[in-house]
């Protein structure tokens, strides 16, 4: 006697236990296996690109903070690089070094969130790894408070450099952070990545081959986890990335475990970059004197940077006025959802949640 079963469509609604923002999935199940998956986005659309057309160039910086809201520095950096490309200027040396330090600290903070939520999605709900990751992230946010007075929506970078020089208290705090962070990274690694339970649940799950990743416009850690060594900091160096030495970590296989593992390795490389910047930085001005109302000549520019989530770029079209004519955000998280269906179909529900976490997308960026 066979039992008649039929597939069930379940709505994993915008309010999610596992956090990625407001993201909705329509999953079709047969038992526990996923037959079909459809993402529904747009719940956080705020009209950033339209608002940018009505704001002055410097005011748009405050809009860009709120795109990928866990990594404000790199959003700012991408935008101001695009603006500077419009007029063809470069910030002074110290400004560039401070930008790189801030961006790499932001990368560490963003990856801490990504890795911290790994264990959370696997099941230690409200869990231990998350608390440890956030404890370290608090130190980074305190350093950001010293730099620019805010912790999350920073608006630290300006066209022509950064806003202000770092205060004296910043450098000892940075030094103690650089001393402590490798130990904490080791601890997080022992807790999360060495555990057999984590390995048995994440290795081999939802692999993405290198060809598929390139065809789907993946960039960032998820591309490097599939084996493709592509990093905008090496391919088209901006700021002072051509003067510091660092490796670009890649993994084979591109499964969930690799995508998180690449982030862990990138954290270590970021610490290395910050160390070198601290040695190389010289006193000097941090910002090119710039008109209050930035009025670039008509033209367009696009400067892609390596944000923690992938390739972030602002395509700016200017028509000679004080506001951009068009500002389009090429957001990495939106592209990460390209292979959503292919990555989830055939796997079980419990794996689906971990797969989403491994993509580490941020709805602020997806929906803009």
């Amino acid at each position: 006697m066979t039992m008649r079963t039929e597939p069930v469509v379940v709505n994993v609604g915008p309010h999610h236990p596992s956090t990625h923002g407001v993201f909705r999935m329509k999953l079709t199940f047969d038992g526990e296996n996923i037959l079909d998956a459809e993402p529904v986005i747009g719940y956080l659309h705020r009209g950033t690109e339209k608002l940018a057309e009505e704001r002055q160039y410097t005011q748009v910086i405050t809009l860009t903070d709120r795109l990928d809201y866990v990594a404000s520095m790199t959003n700012n950096q991408a935008y101001v690089l695009s603006c500077e490309r419009l007029v063809g200027i470069e910030p002074p040396e110290r400004g560039m070094y401070l930008r790189v330090i801030a961006a790499e600290l932001q990368r560490v903070a963003s990856h801490l969130i990504g890795v911290g939520f790994f264990l959370q999605e696997l099941g230690v709900f409200g869990g231990t790894a998350l608390m440890y990751a956030f404890r370290e992230r608090e130190r980074i946010l305190d350093m950001f408070e010293m730099l620019c007075g805010a912790r999350i929506t920073l608006s630290y970078m300006r066209i022509g450099g950064v806003l202000q020089d770092a205060p004296e208290e910043f450098w000892p705090a940075l030094r103690s952070f650089l001393n402590d962070m490798p130990g904490y990274a080791d601890e997080l690694q022992a807790l999360v990545f060495d555990s057999e339970i984590v390995r048995s649940r994440a290795i081999g799950v939802a692999p993405v081959s290198a060809e598929d990743a390139i065809a789907a416009s993946f960039t960032g850690p998820i591309l490097r986890a599939s084996g493709v060594e592509w990093d905008w900091r090496k391919a088209a160096p901006y700021d002072v990335y051509d003067r510091v030495e660092f490796d670009v970590p890649t993994c084979e296989g591109g499964d969930n475990y690799d995508r998180f593992w690449v982030r862990m390795l990138e954290v270590r490389q970021s610490l290395r970059i910050i160390e070198q910047c601290c040695e190389q930085i010289e006193p000097g001005p941090v910002r090119t004197t710039m008109a209050m109302l930035f009025r670039p000549p008509p033209g367009e520019s696009y400067v892609p940077i390596e944000a923690p989530k992938g390739e972030l770029g602002f395509y700016l079209v200017s028509d000679g006025t004080i506001a951009p004519y068009r500002c389009h955000v090429r957001s990495p998280s939106f592209m990460s959802l390209t292979l959503f269906r292919e990555m989830l179909v055939g796997w079980k529900l419990a794996d689906a949640i971990v797969t989403l976490g491994s993509l580490d997308f941020n709805m602020g960026e997806v929906d803009r």
């Binding site: 704001r55 002055q56 410097t58 005011q59 405050t62 809009l63 007029v87 200027i89 002074p92 400004g95 231990t128 440890y132 404890r135 608090e138 305190d142 408070e145 010293m146 730099l147 620019c148 007075g149 805010a150 929506t153 608006s155 022509g160 450099g161 806003l163 202000q164 205060p167 208290e169 601890e187 022992a190 807790l191 999360v192 060495d194 555990s195 057999e196 339970i197 984590v198 390995r199 001005p285 941090v286 910002r287 090119t288 004197t289 710039m290 008109a291 209050m292 009025r295």
Partner: protein, 197 residues
Amino acid sequence: MYGEGILRGLGVTLRNLVRRPFTVQYPEARIPQHPRFRGQEFTWYEQRCTGCASCAKYCPLGIIRIVTDPDGGNEQDGGSYKVDVFDIDQARCMYCGLCVEACPYDALHMGSGFEAARYSRADLVIDIDTLREREKHPSTWFRPQLEREKSDPHHDASQEWQSVGREPFLWHPKRPGQMPEEMDHRSSAAGDYGGEP
């Protein structure tokens, strides 16, 4: 051996058991803010303000409302407007600080608190009388002269308008469309913000 990683993870948790927890029991204890913290409770010095409304113009959200009367009264800079209404709507303010960055006379400064919650939206609008009367603890954000004096808005006494000034800076170009390389870098104050000294 199967389980070795599990044991290592258990060791990590046990080590963290004996560390001090990092919770701060708000509201009895607070995490101290840096003097540069961009907080609520804006500080406004009427004696320095000329009513130019650069802050209102530069605010991305348009929450500052300034109504002036051209009769003047403040003789500091050779004539200025008399400010009748100066409203800052804190309900929509995102504390980005662009208004403070825009002010050419250092009349407006960021505050340093974060507990300005009220029970109704109308109470969230700071009007000119509140700005005049409240205690002035300007944050050192984008005010290098305050930072040079090591002022700390959280612990210092209220500061008067004479002690927060600096020379007018030359941020604004002399003619429209002037590019940064062509601008005048006379004042040493420009060096605070990155121009060549």
